[in-house]
């Protein structure tokens, strides 16, 4: 039985009481809750840039990655007053509104890590414009027998299609098997617009890529060697694993922003499972990588783009040819 000692640390303007720092969260790697907190602190400014003002869902693993997990949308009970929050009406939900926590500063991030919230899921929009997504999202999910090369080929094809109509996407690992490709948006677009636009690109990409890609939502019906292009992950209340969020898998991999050149490198690799490659980015390696590379999704790379021109272009280019 682990000792239940608490230690008090000062983070920014707050004194935080942390518990069970020795608790093993990754039993086969020996990483503890203390390691999780230390990781989140080391990347705090980068991580917070992407978490800030976005309604947060905590995925907690109180007993480590082998134990039970639960998703917490409603802010945790007993959450200190100084952590910001936002109340959102939820039509059709079991309660009429949900108060989400926001992770706007380092003390908040440490507080959540102390709850063993390994995975941080955030909305695609920010307070106060919660009905305007900030990006178009393609969630690229390789089948069980899909190679890194196939995944990279599909990802680069989507990038090429987007470039053809004048858009510049960014890419990150999900921390699991797949990749997230996003097109940062200018303000004022609706979820509907982002979703329909993504569907058009996905359908066109799938038609061009043939057996390499699938749009089949039912897992069992997907070819195992193909990449599933999921274009429906943007919507009111839908979430994405935040950049720099840790995942509850062996090795403690992290959702990591990549250079496009890295994806091009993957496309030249011979047979290798995507997860093996992405597992190189972990809570051990990320602090060094971030120090070297900076935030590849930072303000310099995050070009907010308009969709009117590209949509018109897509209409001309993609509905003509067969």
């Amino acid at each position: 039985m682990s000792s239940k000692e608490r230690s008090t640390v000062s983070v920014g303007a707050q004194m935080l009481s942390l518990s069970n720092l020795e608790k093993l969260l990754w039993p086969r790697d020996g990483y503890t809750k203390g390691d999780l907190i230390a990781y989140y602190r080391s990347v705090a400014p980068r991580a917070i840039a992407h978490l800030k003002d976005r309604p947060l869902t905590l995925q907690r693993y109180p007993n480590g990655i082998d134990g039970e997990t639960f998703f917490e949308k409603q802010m945790p009970r007993g959450m200190p007053e100084w952590i910001e929050r936002v109340t959102v009406p939820t039509p059709g939900g079991s309660r009429s509104e949900v108060t989400f926590a926001l992770c706007n500063d380092e003390p908040s991030l440490v507080y959540f890590a102390n709850l063993a919230a390994i995975v941080l899921h955030v909305w695609t929009s920010r307070v106060p414009a919660l009905d305007e997504p900030e990006f178009v999202l393609f969630d690229l999910d390789p089948g069980e027998k899909c190679t890194l090369r196939t995944l990279a080929t599909v990802t680069l094809a989507i990038r090429t299609l987007l470039a053809e109509i004048g858009l510049k996407p960014l890419v990150k690992t999900t921390g699991g098997y797949g990749l997230h490709v996003v097109v940062p948006l200018a303000a004022g677009y609706s979820y509907e617009t982002a979703k329909v636009f993504a569907e058009i690109v996905a359908r066109h990409a799938a038609a061009e890529l043939g057996e390499l890609a699938t749009l089949q939502r039912t897992i069992a019906k997907r070819p195992q060697t193909a990449v599933y292009i999921d274009y429906v992950q943007v919507g009111l209340g839908k979430t994405i694993v935040a950049p720099y969020s840790v995942r509850a898998r062996d090795g403690a991999p992290v959702s990591t922003p990549l250079h496009w050149a890295e994806v091009e490198g993957f496309a030249r690799r011979s047979a290798l499972a995507p997860a093996d490659e992405f597992a190189k980015h972990t809570i051990r390696t990320l602090p060094g990588r971030v120090a070297r590379e900076g935030d590849l999704w930072g303000p310099k790379a995050w070009k907010k783009q308009r969709l009117e021109g590209p949509s018109a272009k897509a209409g001309r280019l993609w509905t003509e040819r067969g």
């Binding site: 039985m1 100084w82 910001e84 109340t87 959102v88 609706s190 617009t193 329909v196 058009i200 509905t319």
Partner: protein, 278 residues
């Protein structure tokens, strides 16, 4: 998880642990209202007496048990209270048993137990002792006016109270016509085992499974609420689908533009609360 749905105590030998009960599983069903088609008026239910055909107020309603066709025994609230099995609001632990000795069919619905301030120490003690013993507690529970049998299990930092079915609620499978273990060819068994192996995963990841019917229904509702018909079903060939979608996109861009100029500077409906640091 805001409100406790019950508060009482765990009794365990001479130890009493005051606890509150919280919902651990919530239904995620869409709920619909019934409306009058022509004017969208809400349909109301009225309690009407079958003898005089008139509406009956709540204070004139009693409960009756039909012991024979048309013959009722009337029961009042006091009657119910009388048989109320020591309505002590308690979780009385009766025995401990290894978890895998209980058929999973018995488990009905889990709740979280949270200790009150005085109960924290004893709660932690019971949790850790249970976790170390690989056993769960079997308890008799009274919630409001009903008595239940339940298991108390340690899950993470929480003790979970899982209501169980009574033995007589479980339907025996022996009324079904099921094959026995008559001779099965080894070859076929091997294939079946192989199939299981290839479809096996190391961990059950519930988040992998989504409720497609629910999601699609919700998507349809959202689209209707936004004043738009859905793009037509999946059967259309891919190319004409893209053409259709192009129109939808054009409309939606137009709508966004309009919204932008209408709502310039209008605050969003979400309320945000910010507290300054103490």
């Amino acid at each position: 998880m805001a409100h406790a749905i019950w508060s009482g105590a765990i009794n365990f030998g001479l130890v009493t642990i005051p606890v509150k009960l919280f919902t651990a599983v919530k239904a995620d069903d869409l709920s619909f209202n019934m409306l009058h088609k022509k004017d969208e008026g809400r349909i109301k239910y009225e309690r009407v007496c079958s003898v005089d055909g008139k509406p009956v107020p709540w204070d004139e309603i009693v409960k009756g048990y039909e012991y024979e066709k048309g013959q009722y025994v009337l029961l009042t609230d006091e009657d119910f209270a009388k048989v109320n099995p020591e309505a002590t609001q308690s979780v009385d632990i009766v025995e401990f048993v290894e978890l895998d000795k209980i058929s999973p069919m018995f488990f009905d619905k889990p709740y979280y137990l949270e200790p009150t301030k005085q109960g924290r120490h004893a709660y932690a003690l019971l949790r850790e002792a249970l976790a170390g013993s690989n056993r769960v507690a079997i308890a008799r529970v009274v919630i409001r006016t009903k008595e239940y049998i339940a298991a108390v299990k340690p899950i993470g930092d929480a003790l979970v109270l899982e209501l169980m079915h009574w033995a007589n609620e479980i339907v025996a499978s022996d009324t079904l016509d099921l094959p026995g273990t008559e001779k099965l060819p080894e070859k076929e068994m091997q294939m079946a085992r192989m199939l299981i192996d290839t479809m096996s995963v190391d961990e059950f990841e519930p988040q992998k499974f989504s409720n497609n019917y629910h999601d699609q229904l919700l998507a349809m509702i959202e689209a209707r609420a936004a004043g738009k018909e859905l793009p037509k079903a999946k059967k259309a060939p891919a190319r004409s689908k893209v053409v259709n979608l192009m129109d939808v996109l054009a409309q939606s861009l137009e709508a966004s533009k309009k919204r932008r100029s209408d709502a310039n500077g209008k605050p969003a409906e979400a309320k945000r609360r910010k507290k300054t640091a103490a």
